[in-house]
Amino acid sequence: MGPSLNPSLLLAAIPATAFGACLLPLLLQRFGRTAAAVGAATVMATCLALLLPLAPAALTDHTELARISWLPAYGLDLSLRLDGLGLLFCLLICGIGLLVVLYAAWYLPDSDRLGRFYSILLLFMAAMLGIVLSENLLLLLIFWEITSLSSFLLVAYRSDKYESRIGARMALAVTGGGGLALLAGILLLGHIAGSYELSVILAASERIHAHALYAPALILILLGAFTKSAQFPFHFWLPSAMAAPTPVSAYLHSATMVKAGVFLLARLYPALGGSDLWFWLVSGTGAATLVYAAAIALFRNDIKGLLAYSTISHLGLITLLFGLDTPLSVVAGIFHIINHAIFKASLFMAAGVIDHECGTRDMRRVNGMFRRMPITATLAIIAAGSMAGVPLLNGFLSKEMFFAETVSYPQFETLTWVLPLFATIAGMLAVAYSSRFVHDVFFNGEPVDLPRQPHEPPRWMRAPIELLVLLCLLVGLFPGWTVGPLLAAAAGAALQAPLPEFTLALWHGFNQPLLMSVLALAGGVILYALRAPLFAWQAELPPMHPRTAFERFYRRLNTGARWTLAAIDNGSLQRYNALLLSFIVLLGGWAFFSGPAATIRVAGQPIDEASVGALLTLLLGTVGATLLYRQRLLAVILVSVVGLVVALTFIRLSAPDLALTQFAVETGTIILMLLVLYYLPAGSAPRSSAPRLIRDLLLALLAGGGLGLITLKMLAAPFETISGFYLQEAIPGGGGANVVNVILVDFRGFDTLGEITVLAMVALAAHALLDRLILHAPPADTDGRRWATDAHPLFLSMLMRPLLPFSLTVSVYILLRGHNLPGGGFVAGLITSVALVMQYLANGIASTQPRMPGRPTRFLALGLLLAAGVGVASWPFGRPFLTSAHGHIQLPLLGEIELASAMIFDLGVYIVVVTVVLTVLSGLGRLSLRLHRQQETS
């Protein structure tokens, strides 16, 4: 480790190693449990080792920074910082992590291969390191949420247990949800400060406080911190998370993850602290948590439950300290973070040992353990003493600093006694539950009905506890020597200001804090001694399980969502359509009336009697079909009349091509409708209820009236189009006199290519949708009349024979003349296909099918190929896709012949249309054949 080693590279290497190696145990587990454990420990040790060269600088108030650019435009960079606070947490994370790895190898059952466990644990550790090393707040948030996720996985480690799964989900819901609030808060904070880099934010305290968004940002960030640190009222997830294996609890729920919240308070204290809002929110929440959780802890029968609530309470204490908002209270808070991590981790591990040995953690059954596992008991008692704040132990020191802070706190001028009293009560409760832990587990008579015969755990399982308890003692006895520099560095980093005067010593003389400690100790013991009536009182209280509350919340969310969805969306297409139409009517109406109106009006065409007659016919057909839609054949006939009138309208309005197409399509539509009608059950349409009818009529009137008025208004509006170009260019540029056809095959040939593709897909769909479809054919018509026996009426069958060649001749005419006269590929294709369909209709499938050529898909491909191929053919000439060519060829005798490449395009259109119409109509017709065959065979 020479001076050449780049410290910022080293810094970046810490989380990189942790993340990079987090799958190592999973890979190593094939070599056995030990290999997995060793792998995990090696990773942690490596991180620790990487940290050591950086530690000296960090201890001397130096902040090491490293930055890799990630998403700078949005302020998100991989920028890291190592200062005293980070160093402290890194040491906790890696140090306790190592112990937990060791402990878990013994604790977890031999059947576990541990690879998954250690990998997730490493992932968690990596994320924790990330949090404490982040310089960029967004980066911090990323790690923050990864801890939530990995904690979710760790809590649910025993995924076959319901308690584990629900506990994990609760933990994720609360901490992950808090993370979202934190994200919002950080985004606001970054917006205020102009950066997410801590160095900038910590220096921008004044600007932050003065900003209008300070309060929302603070509240959102505190939500994140409080949820993570299980502050009241978000504390409930932590006890449920005790379903996790004990090593997880020791690591996450005492030493590290729950500390992330208070870490964040420490981190952002210089930027956000120092306001009334901060004081009231932070100290208020902390104080409430402190007392409330301590009181609950006393009554938990589960050892881990007691420890969990105790943890909550201690986190409350730390939070309260940060809330008190004095430099010294921040120092005390950080000191307590260290102490709590040490003693609580050891206590959890001890609880794990007891669980491991006894098979239960219920303190009503686990008694008298001191005799069965004296060493473990001694260790646990020492740690519990620290938790209670017994002198000579580390917990005492920070608790006394806390008492001192409450005494000297300047905020309440007249009510100086409130805070000390509060602190003393909390201290009493802590002593009481610690006493209960010690007495109830290790003494209190004989165990009741234990599943196993408890004795001392394996040597190496106890070793981590021993080490931690040793630390409790060392810190308690020699605070200045053991943690002094670290605490100073951490506090300095947290405060971002010169440290206040404080001495880390066991003895500060007889003063008010000492009195409070004595009172707390005595009071706590008395409280525990008088526990019987208290427990009886508590038993009377209505049971309150956060888990069931969460489940109830979740169930309500779920049923509420389902109920709401079912109310909105009942699966009715009619409603969808009604909503769509209403939406369009509203949107259109708003858009139309909210803008400026035009004033210019253009004169229209004169009305003649024939057109009025046509309109009346159309109305008759339309309204008739609508009113009589239950008489389905009549409706089909009436709609055909409408189609006829529409086609005649096109003739009247100078659109012969449209009239042709309309007629041809009309014919296909009738056949189609009849093919379908054969199968559809008649008379099944229900009568609509009156409100429905009113709704539908209203919508129909709005839509129809609206579009009618728009038509009128559009026709009266001034008009200027691009179509002069088409008229000018049709002959010189497109080589055709029928401008509509030239548009279709040339100017906008690409549209047509897409259109025949659509048609081709209809043919493919006819295969795909009708494949193996079995329908029940009615044996009689709707009047109950048996079908006629003559399947192929003679005249029809005979006259269709000559008509086919004649139709083909006509379709060739229509196809070839289409470029200059009304016609073209579409109409020609429709004529041919309908003529062929008539062969089916006249002579039946059995006799017609064998006479049809080839596979339809090949014809589709051919048609599309002709259309697109003639488009690609323009490439060698350096022209874009679909560029047409046309010209006149002079031939002897025959004279001038006009040729256009667009005609090949039209031929492609023709082939596709023929194939599609034929495939669809004959496919629908064939359905009955399948049915008849099936009936014959069965």
Binding site: V636, I637, S640, F663, L674, Y678, W787, I814
Partner: protein, 89 residues
Amino acid sequence: MLNAAIEIAFVLIGTALALNLYRLLRGPDTTDRILALDTLGINAIALIVLFGIRTASSAYFEVALLLALMGFIGTVALCKFLLRGDIIE
């Protein structure tokens, strides 16, 4: 003279179409309605041809041709439906 003849012819054919519509609505049986529809189509051919003469345009010839060639198909299909239900079998 021609123009007058054309106007009169329009009125005559218009009346014919109205009578077709009457039969179409009146029925009484579906076959009557189909017959009316068929006649409507044939009369429409006359109308289109007349329209072509009036506008002196052969642009509408193809439409009339198509109607003559395909107009019967709807009628045939409807009748086949009445007879057999299954029009393509």
